[in-house]
Symmetry: C2
Subunit: 342 residues, 2 copies
Amino acid sequence: MRTAVRVAVDAMGGDRGPAEVVAGALQAASPELEPVVFGSAELDTGGLEHVQTTQVIGMDDKPADAIRSKPDSSLLRACQAVAAGRADAVVSTGNTGALLGACLVELRRLPGVRRPAIAVPLPAERGPSVLLDSGANADARPEHLLQFAHMGAVFAEEILGVAHPEVRLLSIGEEPAKGNQLTIEAHELLRRSELHFAGNVESRHLLAGAADVVVCDGFTGNVCLKLLEGTIGTLLGALRSEIATDLRGKVGGLLIRPAARRLRTRLDPDTYGGAYLLGLRGLAVIAHGNASREAVANAVRLAARGVRHRVVERLAERLPGPPGGARGSVVASAGSLTQTPK
Amino acid sequence: MRTAVRVAVDAMGGDRGPAEVVAGALQAASPELEPVVFGSAELDTGGLEHVQTTQVIGMDDKPADAIRSKPDSSLLRACQAVAAGRADAVVSTGNTGALLGACLVELRRLPGVRRPAIAVPLPAERGPSVLLDSGANADARPEHLLQFAHMGAVFAEEILGVAHPEVRLLSIGEEPAKGNQLTIEAHELLRRSELHFAGNVESRHLLAGAADVVVCDGFTGNVCLKLLEGTIGTLLGALRSEIATDLRGKVGGLLIRPAARRLRTRLDPDTYGGAYLLGLRGLAVIAHGNASREAVANAVRLAARGVRHRVVERLAERLPGPPGGARGSVVASAGSLTQTPK
């Protein structure tokens, strides 16, 4: 048995270029954590193990096409390393759809899992909160949401260290009957489950902290994530310009700068570095395409943490899968993939 | 022909009590605008015409039940006044579901309209933007979204004064194929329509200003509205507490107060006072349950503006209705109503 966790890092995907990703991997490296860099021969990996690859899957590549036509891409090769046991987890800052597709092909789903989900830890005011699905499945059925809830609960227990995670269903009213057909039926499934289900929650509470686990379909989750990110950015930007319109505001702005910086750090999506793709026979972490080296380092550590806490094994125990649970075809799933998880 | 626009105001619905609603109606009153107050006999309407009613529909009342069991409620009576031609529009700060249900029963849908929609003007950075449906229909089909787009375009032209309103579809990626089944099919319908359709838009751009008209199903719209509201509130609150942790921040906070206030005013949902229920044979405006007198006054003015610009007539011309367009039953529609539009 290896003592260090080995994390396969796809160096070619990020918007900031491979050097930034490699710098992040180097930052995360320790005697207990060995990043393995997948990328072109020219990369200087600063001593990290380097698997040379010749192809790159771009942000705008169509997932299904890219997976077929770029077998020697850093992204596919990194996933294959996990499937073959040469690495314990994979981290990519690249094309989310392609990563999900590659994981479905190379790692495959856990038995009984109908749909993998993207689990994003939100830096909410009252502490971290996991939002899932944040974009793996644009369309979902009630039984998928129930599985997402179970996966989110394992994530909250193992990664966030919450003993009996509270699960809530994202809807447009707190009453069970408020919502769309999907949430009304999912509410009933969640209510009858053994989860600590505390009912529906409205999106207005997401940033303050709605629950340990917030469950929704991938379309809604992705819309929420992008709206959160966009609103925080627009609002702080608007405040900055409003302040800059007179001298009084400018002086005030200088004085509150440390406080604003603390707030920014607290709400920074890079705090966790990335999101898990849950429901697979291996661990995958997707980082923001625009991730800084710090964010990449956090994503690599997040992946290692998942390995040490045996998240995949815990999920396999927890999700025995309903009888006759259809597993669908990979191509069908890859068709509805979304691009960026946050 | 009457020269003044008469707006029926349901005084009993708001969270702040009838006196606040009446104060708002009084503020909006002018020689061109005659509010008619519907509410209990004890109300002092300050000289405004007063239709006395004996029942009140509460925020927690189930819409369908309330409409059946409270025929003399201020909300129903106000809607009936519009149906009977004794008022030109109705404004309520009450139960959104009940208002929508009452409008469906009393005002009825315009010919060809499948589902009414709630149109909310967002105070976006680049100027107002209409988001619809913001919660009238939790589930929607692609052809509904196409109708919402037409209704939103009329709203933008008549109420916001935009000549050729740009319409976008809210989705999780800009490419036509990014989204769920609903948005992918709706995209195609919108693309083939005569509207100025500019493609998909992601939620991250909503507060900055995504388009003149942003179309989505009512579940997604309601989630977005509540997330915007909640995130703005949580973020400004968090900044305030972060600033208050030391003297430097406190002084800075005092200095930036006017700038912060200007920003708050700019992003205030009360700027427009309310949202239209579009697609009915009469005009209805729903205001926030917690609306201040200023917000109520703005909602009453918004209703009057809709009457003067003949929004209902413009919609009737614009929406000839697809052949065989099912009109459904009111009870079925009232079952999926949502509570608060923002």
